[in-house]
Subunit: 249 residues, 2 copies
């Protein structure tokens, strides 16, 4: 699930906390984090560096415990995790309808000033809701009339399309590999986190727009379906068992 290269470890740790410890009182011990990372092939020192950086960035906070340290999301880290969760865990696209938005290319308004609109050029954008603005032309994109390719390729670049296709293939291989296998607690959790992490890295890099405005070959729906299938198998991650394994050491 790591695409053959080590994922940036801090990003992986963000996924771990978002998936396993998003509840207000949830925490993970340094030992359990180390064991989990080990099951993903990440070195303990890399985990320590990532934890240090995420504490410095205000994403995590830690407390000393008898056995070492325990980590939890800060308020800000929890808020951002919660914001991303619907997109990561939904088994359907978060947006079902799309609106074309045109604005005056000669106007001074900056692109960033219109929340909800993904700008695909100086004056053309797409929105997942019916935005309003005196100077805007806003019209729903009919589902039954596909957008031309030159618009859809601006929604999501070729690299993101390729990443989704590759992920779909790896998820399919994992589903096939899991049939009949019985991984232990740490390995189950590691696999689960890697599934979530792989999809998170794809879904959060593309705009929140319905699948029908994406380019030909967009494997988002297939990824979403396979992620849902895998999370149903790798469900209710057993943190207690993970912590116990870590204690046992």
């Amino acid at each position: 699930m790591t695409e053959g290269v080590a994922p940036r470890v801090w990003s992986l740790v963000v996924t771990i906390f978002g998936d396993l410890a998003q509840a207000p009182d949830a925490e993970l011990s340094g030992a359990a984090l180390g064991r989990l990372a080990g099951a993903m092939g990440v070195r303990p020192e890399a985990v320590r560096v990532a934890l240090h950086r995420l504490r410095k960035d205000g994403w995590l906070e830690s407390r000393r415990t008898r056995g070492g340290s325990a980590y939890r999301l800060t308020e800000a880290g929890r808020r951002e995790s919660a914001q991303a969760s619907p997109r990561i865990y939904a088994d359907a696209a978060q947006a079902g309808r799309a609106w074309l938005v045109l604005r005056d290319p000669g106007s001074a308004a900056a692109a960033g000033e219109m929340p909800g609109v993904t700008w695909l050029g100086a004056s053309m954008g797409l929105a997942a809701r019916e935005v309003c603005g005196a100077d805007l032309y806003v019209n729903e994109v009919p589902r039954d009339a596909p957008l031309p390719g030159w618009i859809r390729t601006r929604v999501c670049d070729a690299a993101a399309v390729r990443a989704a296709r590759d992920l779909a293939a790896r998820l399919g291989a994992l589903q096939a590999g899991l049939a009949g296998a019985a991984p232990g607690p740490a390995q189950r959790v590691a696999l689960r986190v890697l599934v979530v992490h792989g999809w998170r890295r794809v879904v959060l890099r593309v705009p929140m727009l319905p699948d029908h405005v994406f380019p030909d070959g967009w494997a988002g729906p297939e990824c979403r379906r396979r992620v849902a299938g895998l999370l149903a198998v790798l469900d209710t991650p057993d943190i207690t068992a993970l912590e116990a394994e870590a204690l046992a050491g």
Copy 2:
């Protein structure tokens, strides 16, 4: 109706033939044309120059008659007159619906290659019918959601908006002036031709799109209504009486 300046006489002669002599066998004598032009304040030499030019351009043809010359539209002149007539004489806008058209600004296709589309920029246009094209985004402009001003000002420039407003005012003044007046045959025909000519010069310079995509202050509908009212009063131009007047000298 001539906006205080002499209209280009050849254009006025085009209007005269389009309005009075569009039928396949219709012709106008040089004498009647001179009398009509005189009633509009146009000098006979200017008419002769215009007739010469329009013959050279293949719009008119002439034959010698006992009294002088008679002129008629050529096939080409008649075809073009017939093409413009629906826009000039219709008492309702020729287009009722509008479609927004977007095309790839990076594509090599030239603007002129898509009949029916009025391009308002490198990639955005409006059409009065649902055009088709693999690379086009085409979506109907809802009547109940007005286009933003920056799009509508591209449909028709400020000069054309002003010309329509001025014409509407002059047509209104003419309607008021005609109430109770009883102009003679040549004068009736002259007024009729000037009404048609004034409107023709406005309507043929703007795209054939429905009124609701035109800029604020567009007086097209008012002009159309007033033209229809005036042509109802100045109806069935009496060419025979005009020719008789011309013969009588």
